[in-house]
């Protein structure tokens, strides 16, 4: 792998983890009785930016290197399921995250400072953010499984 591709792969991983950390932070903020509206906006915006960077860098790595150099190694190795199940599911479920984050960003902008007073809206948004975070953590762990299967 060239240094540029290594950097792009690292970008995908680091920004993906930052996005998931941002989602988890949003979840914890929403569990507070009076969530800070400015922090919710800031974290949802940055998480969306991070997931977009991870998406673009991951796409470049996947399209230019993974398919030709990594996929055949995994499929021919001891853990073919790491590609055939884990990677296949991961690469498609990942596509849910930018849109879920976009909705969360619009929701926190829309609700503004009212979120603390509207328990039903806060509860529904917390549920959505919790689902999004759990999907994000599962995708991150899937990446570890796929990396391990190449070695």
């Amino acid at each position: 792998m060239t240094p540029i591709l290594s950097t792009i792969l690292l970008t995908h991983v680091v920004f993906g983890i930052l996005a998931v950390a941002g989602m988890y932070s949003l979840w914890m903020m929403l569990l507070k009785r009076e969530p800070n509206s400015a922090n919710l906006k800031r974290f949802s915006l940055w998480s969306l930016v991070f997931i977009l960077i991870s998406w673009i860098s991951g796409a470049y790595y996947y399209l230019t290197y993974y398919g030709a150099a990594v996929k055949p190694v995994i499929k021919g190795g001891a853990y073919p399921w790491a590609h055939l199940v884990v990677m296949e599911a991961k690469e498609h479920i990942f596509l849910f995250l930018p849109f879920l984050l976009a909705v969360v960003l619009v929701a926190v902008i829309f609700s503004g400072t009212k979120l603390g007073q509207d328990e039903k809206l806060k509860s529904a948004l917390t549920f959505l953010v919790a689902v999004m975070t759990i999907i994000g953590i599962a995708i991150t762990l899937s990446g570890l499984v796929i990396s391990g299967a190449v070695r």
Partner: protein
Amino acid sequence: MAIKTLKSAIWGATASILTTTVITIWGELNAPLKNWLASTFTHHWLGKSIISVAVFFGVWLVVHIVSRAPKSEDNNGVVWLLKFLAWIAILSATSLVVFYLYEFFK
């Protein structure tokens, strides 16, 4: 920012997630669809990525244009839609995992 904008965004995300899930499973079962995605967009996954973005913004825009502004600032519809979107994400992710497990073990 109106409730209408948020509701439209939720419908856009719901449609995008469902489209990604359906064309992924359908593409695996129907080679011509996967081949069409690959030939049109250079790679089937790139095609799904582009389609997911197009569906999100397309549905957001269309729902925003055709839906009426709510008479009150009642959030009940938004609450229901946020939960609906979360369940669509859960069911779609589960469907994809179960589908690829089935394909592996069959």
